[in-house]
């Protein structure tokens, strides 16, 4: 394998870097300078920040649990998709392997369910 396959990627990086440099360098010369309050604020996307939560801004740990569960199933789908696409080539061996994999995920799922991980309150 030669490294020439990576030349387009290097080119892309160079292009992206050049674009960034050019934009920053060109902005002071060709951009208009009109200041207002919003422009001087720290940049945040999305809705207006709500008042800070009490106690130093902690989130309830149940959000973390939900996020973890999401990731588990997310990963499962990521594995399932290419398996489904090449199912014909993988045959019985691939089928059994995937059953085993799903089995382990369901073991974890059963644990979460029985130990109250799915209850919000």
């Amino acid at each position: 394998m030669s490294l020439s396959a990576y030349v387009p990627i290097v080119g892309l990086f160079a292009l992206a870097g050049a674009f960034g440099l050019f934009s920053v360098a060109a902005a002071p010369f060709i951009g208009p300078r009109r200041f207002n309050k919003a422009k001087l604020d720290a940049y945040e996307c999305g809705i207006e920040p709500t008042p800070q939560p009490v106690g130093g801004g902690r989130f309830p740990v149940k959000f973390y649990l939900t996020a973890m569960l999401f990731i588990v199933f997310d990963i499962e789908i990521i594995f399932l998709y290419p398996w489904a696409v090449s199912f014909n080539m993988l045959g019985v061996f691939g089928f059994v392997e995937m059953l085993l994999f799903i089995g382990t995920v369901f073991v974890a799922y059963a644990y979460v369910w029985r130990r109250g991980g799915l209850d919000w309150d």
Partner: protein, 516 residues
């Protein structure tokens, strides 16, 4: 796109030990889900012991059937269950069973050494309630099984990617186990976070090293890497950077200086049975992996990594020994002693050849039993706040309970390397291998470090025997059956390997070969 994909051939006879452990760990998670709370601990303990026992039987069966170059590799050469790998698997399982006995102990304090719910805020009303009477988390058993299975895979991985996966499989459960101490929970959580962050950092180095080595060899399996090192005329820069980064990842796990900073904090904060498990099994697994990388992948025939690793070995021995002198907490003292011991093990590895490998294997077993017994004793010396590990608290313990103080004295003498203990034979083996391999300078530093390290051990002995017990001297609890068994096995093996080491030495000598 082709119509078929060829599947690797799996030699199930060779893979059984790992499959049993992984399967039992999954069953253990189901036990957590469906078995009533009152039964969980018993069921989990029996299940884990049975699984480890069955895996050990499988390892022995395979060793009895004979390992040859022809049947060592399986799963497309990704796993190599050769003689050294089989010895390490057996050693890991035996040490795992003994430390599992400590993990299973529930009689020393109500509910055992683990916290029931680690998520409850420390110091809250609910926390005080659960510390007083709730029985500890039984998730520790499946976690320990997962960790042990990962270690078995780690020492037989014949491919850097499999090795990385195994590294993560055995590390992640350990991070969790560290956070589960019933007492001193903030210390325990701090230990877990530090171990996790630094461990993740080290894993990243390892992975980056794999990428670099791939850049050099166009392959991640040890055979191709070795073949490329022997024949390739490409510049070695990528390879050197890659090996350095791999070494950082592995030396972190074995706790070699300068990658040792996590050791004292984690050893101190983790629940003592988990510390014993880490000190014995993680060390064995990490050295097994390191030796395979160096002996199989990056063989020394064409170029030489000895000076660099030699400097690390010297630093590890000296820094570990000197810092052990200044410690005032017994768990931290044993942690620094474990750092120094990693240095002695590195000396054995650098001895090279079959002698170096066999001395390392012997040392790992000898040290593992001794350190498990030492931590088992630490769980016995308690006061109202749990274990009393501060050195000053142990003053006068010899007068209060001469039996346990004698046992601990024996173990400390073993660590110091006195004759008639396994510490002596083990050190003799690694230093002998290093001299045989022409690394006499390492042995000089090793002996110097041993002399320094004897001082903290002797200080503990003097404190135990020559001080008067005061009001604050804790009592020694009567151990339950499980801790007694672990303690007895540890002490007996330490004595046996000191008096009659020949059978294990023969076993290690026989096992001291990797199959490339």
């Amino acid at each position: 796109m082709g119509d078929t994909i060829s599947f690797p051939h799996l030699d199930y006879a060779a893979l059984w030990p790992m499959l049993i452990l992984f399967g039992a760990a999954c069953v253990g998670v189901l036990v957590e889900a469906f078995v009533p709370k009152a039964w969980r601990n018993t069921v989990q303990l029996v299940l884990s012991l049975l699984a480890m026992g069955a895996a050990l039987v499988m390892v022995i069966k395979r060793a009895a059937a004979g390992v040859t170059a022809a049947n060592a590799h399986t799963a497309s050469d990704a796993i190599s269950i050769d003689k050294a790998g089989l010895f390490l698997q057996g050693a890991l399982l035996v040490l795992g069973i003994v430390s599992l006995l400590l993990i299973g102990e529930r009689t020393l304090e109500t509910g055992g050494p683990f916290v029931a719910q680690a998520a409850i805020t420390v110091g809250s009303e609910a926390d005080r309630r659960q510390a007083a009477r709730e029985s500890g988390a039984t998730e520790v058993y499946p976690l320990a099984l997962f960790a042990l299975a990962g270690m078995l895979l780690f020492v037989t991985a014949n491919d850097l990617l499999v090795m990385f996966v195994a590294l993560e499989v055995f590390s992640l459960p350990l991070y969790l186990l560290c956070a589960l101490a019933r007492r001193k929970r903030l210390l325990s959580q701090e230990a877990a976070v530090k171990y996790f962050l630094l461990g993740a950092f080290a894993s990243a180095f390892f992975l980056f090293g794999v990428a670099m080595v791939y850049g050099f060899a166009n392959a991640v399996d040890f055979n191709s890497i070795h073949a490329n090192i022997s024949t390739s005329d490409k510049p070695f820069a990528l390879l050197l950077i890659g090996l350095a980064m791999l070494a950082i990842g592995l030396l972190f796990k074995v706790a070699a200086v300068p990658f040792h900073v996590w050791t004292p904090d984690v050893y101190q904060g983790a629940p003592t049975p988990v510390t014993a498990f880490m000190a014995a099994c993680t060390k064995a697994a990490a050295f097994g992996g390191l030796a395979r990388v160096l002996y199989v992948g990056f063989d020394r025939s064409n170029w030489n990594f000895t000076p660099v690793l030699g400097v690390i070995a010297v630093l590890t021995m000296l820094v570990g020994a000197v810092l052990a002198v200044t410690q005032t907490d017994l768990k931290r003292l044993l942690a620094y002693s474990s750092v120094a011991n990693a240095g002695y093990l590195l000396v054995g590895v650098l001895g090279g050849g079959a002698a170096g490998l066999s001395s390392m294997l012997f040392y790992l077993v000898a040290y593992g039993f001794a350190i498990i017994a030492a931590f088992a004793l630490l769980t016995l010396v308690r006061d109202a706040d749990g274990e009393a590990t501060h050195l000053s608290r142990w003053a006068g313990l010899g007068r209060r309970s001469p039996f346990f103080a004698s046992v601990f004295t024996f173990l400390l003498l073993a660590f110091a390397g006195l004759p008639l203990t396994s510490g002596f034979t083990a050190k003799f083996a690694v230093f002998g291998a290093a001299i045989g391999g022409g690394q006499t300078w390492l042995v000089l530093f090793g002996v110097l470090s041993s002399i320094i390290l004897a001082f903290p051990y002797l200080r503990v002995i003097v404190m135990m025997w020559l001080s008067e017990p005061g009001d604050t001297t804790p009592s020694v609890s009567i151990p339950g059956a499980l801790t007694s068994a672990a303690l007895m096995v540890g002490v007996l093996v330490t004595l046996l390997l000191g008096v009659a080491p020949s059978s294990l030495l023969d076993l290690a000598n026989n096992a001291a070969s990797f199959v490339r």
